[in-house]
Symmetry: C2
Subunit: 429 residues, 2 copies
């Protein structure tokens, strides 16, 4: 796996993930929710597969109250946690996050009740108000969430909160992810060192229309609630709204940010240079996390990055890039390292955007090299062997020039593989 390098030379990658910003601690634990998924089948005499005791409950806490903002799934069918969290951060404040994996707590009659109980249990353990708790769930839809394991685990979970707990927390929010996704970056803002940290989970049911599954970002920057909200919206447009694994928009998507203000910078209350720098850093931070989500998409063997250049409008560039990255046919071709560029042009064609196919050029690029496969909308002679080598890398760039303007956009995705089918052919049982 390739390490992502921030384009901004000021940005320094640091350890600590979600706990890197000052004020934050985290913990993760196996509470027994993931195991409970199979109880129904087991009861009917099916053999229940032996499950490893993987973390399934995460807690994040800040020593003081934080400014908070979030963006959520656009799916009409929503996890109960979405409504509860929205209500809790309506005032722009939060102090803790409780997350379970293994069960989405969605499409259950008692969903909201359970989400509120999770907040109450976390608040009790942390001696804060339930209304300052963000709650999230991820996993199977339509199975009743067992609250007992959460109740039982919370004291130990709160007890183990620490500045080293980021990785345990990041593991506890995973479903079919193959590795935990966390990151932290440090940079200067108005003469002060400030930090952004975060964790996310992706894997499946990921689509471009705000489809993060779960992402939690912390920062110690001092910023107004209004500007935190605005910054998050700006960052999402070029990152989490540009990533797709399988075109399915989840019911439980949630991207939350909490700002502790502990860095001691002059509070950002204007759209000034400090604000702009924060947005730039936050955007790139989100892009870096999105790349991990796409790279580790269910069954994926490679990260696909589609750059569309020289479009007439920014939205055209975005929609073209997204259409390519979402095409099942193209994704399958990339799995097979097959330079089937016709599928790229085909996917652009049904994007709904206007462009001149006869002006399009397409290159495939990776660390193994770069090859032009299409010029002026028609094929050019190229070496299939060289193309195969380039496409066999685990990070492939699809460079598209539509030669009709100056706008560009990038979308992130992954290949479509046997393992995607395998994982999703039998996810519940």
């Amino acid at each position: 796996m390739k390490k992502y390098l921030f384009t901004n030379p000021d940005a320094k990658l640091i350890e600590g993930g979600i706990c890197a910003p000052l004020g934050f601690t985290a913990s993760g634990i196996y509470a027994g929710i993931k195991q409970s998924v199979n109880s129904d089948s087991a009861a009917e005499g099916n053999e229940s597969p032996v499950k490893q005791k993987k973390n399934d409950l995460a807690l994040v806490h800040c020593s003081g109250i934080c400014k908070a903002a979030g963006v959520y799934t656009t799916n009409l069918v929503k996890g109960a946690c979405i409504d509860v969290t929205k209500r809790h951060i309506a005032d722009g404040y939060a102090q803790a996050i409780i997350v379970n994996s293994g069960n989405a707590n969605t499409c259950n009659a008692d969903g909201k009740e359970k989400s509120e109980m999770m907040c109450n249990l976390a608040a009790d353990a942390l001696r804060i108000k339930p209304e300052d708790v963000i709650v999230a769930s991820t996993g199977v839809i339509g199975q009743v969430l067992p609250i007992k394991p959460i109740e039982k685990a919370l004291p130990a979970l709160a007890e183990s909160l620490s500045r080293d707990g980021g990785t345990q927390a990041a593991r506890a929010i995973m479903t079919t992810d193959t590795y935990e996704k966390e990151m932290a970056v440090e940079f200067e803002l108005g003469g002060k060192k400030v930090r952004i940290g975060g964790m996310c989970k992706g894997s499946g049911m990921i689509h471009v229309n705000m489809a993060t599954m779960l992402c939690f970002i912390t920062t110690d920057i001092a910023i107004s609630r209004e500007h935190l909200r605005k910054a998050l919206r700006q960052a999402v447009g070029d990152s989490f709204n540009m990533v797709s694994v399988d075109g399915d928009t989840s019911t439980n998507d949630m991207l939350m940010i909490m700002a502790s203000g502990h860095a001691g910078n002059k509070v950002i209350t204007d759209s000034n240079a400090n604000y702009d720098k924060f947005v730039l850093m936050l955007k790139e931070f989100c892009v870096a996390l999105c790349r991990e989500i796409a790279r580790d998409g269910e069954g994926a063997t490679k990260l696909l990055v589609c750059n569309v250049r020289n479009a007439k409008f920014a939205q055209t560039a975005k929609n073209l890039a997204k259409s390519v990255i979402c095409s099942s046919l193209f994704k399958a071709a990339m799995f097979g390292a097959d330079a089937n560029w016709g599928r790229v042009l085909c996917a652009m064609g049904y994007s709904g955007e206007q462009f001149d196919p006869e002006k399009v050029s397409i290159d495939f690029q990776s660390e193994a090299g770069k090859i032009r496969v299409c010029e002026n909308g028609a094929g050019v002679l190229f070496s299939e062997n060289e193309a195969k080598k380039i496409l066999s890398d685990d990070e492939v760039y699809i460079e598209i020039d539509v030669a009709s303007g100056t706008e560009s956009a990038t979308a992130f995705g992954c290949d479509l593989t046997y393992d995607y089918v395998k994982i999703n052919g039998d996810y519940r049982t």
Copy 2:
């Protein structure tokens, strides 16, 4: 495979496919286009797989001039054949169809020229005008179409035209289809026996927004050009616009109908009872072909039929049904016979349509039985073993009741399998 039964008791399935209506003959042949696909790789020293000599050139002819109408792909990137065919039937008349598989003749600088050459060659062999020839191509995008094999094969192809040639023609338009798709039906219209016949190919790059790949329908009904066009549009709305294999809208989609008038019925020039009956039959004929396209979708092991009932608007019912049938996650679950109904509700939720999730009920049904899995938007206890049995059938019905009106719709799709990935990971080479 289950045989489709027309709901209209008047309709009688007959033999002959596209040649069943009076006046039509057809033929299919191996011209050598499919083989040529691999020449490039072979030249580079890759081992070229041994290819069977599968038909790749089809001809359909009518003894007299026909009324003709068509619907086409909505993809901005279009096969050259689309433009040429549109121009040729702009006057509402056609007398022959020439189709090649193995090469889409799309995204080639000389595409239109080649499509016109195909029409000229067919017209010469048949002693008709090139402007009365419909031309279609299907296969790999972006490889130059070799015209020599077509030129060489055309005399023999024209020579072998016969009323028994439907099956050979149906085979010649196949790409990754595993069997030829043809059908014919006979019924009475105003005291006369009339017939509709047809052939189509599907397999991959099939999506709901007019995505037939290729379909050719013949009839001996006497009808005005205007009413033929209108009937086709009506029939497509509930059939070819409701089928998806992989969400990719092809560049070369084309559904053409030709009416010879040889049945001798009173020419339909009004929207009268005879017209209504024709539309009804044509619609069901198209639905029957769509079921075959979905059933034989690339890598598919089963046909999925999603019925949405009791929606407020017809368009709502259509979009909900299509969203379910297009979900990669749901399709993978069906491959695994996993009753993951949460994915059904999830896909409905991101359809963009308004409905009340808490009113939704979902049943899975097949010849093995029927089982309720969701009621009022929440799970109900059901036997996983029974569900598995029902979903293991090769024809599965997803019955959704949204309890908010009286409108209904049906969409057709297939499961997502290892073989889909396999086929598309290495389609070109």
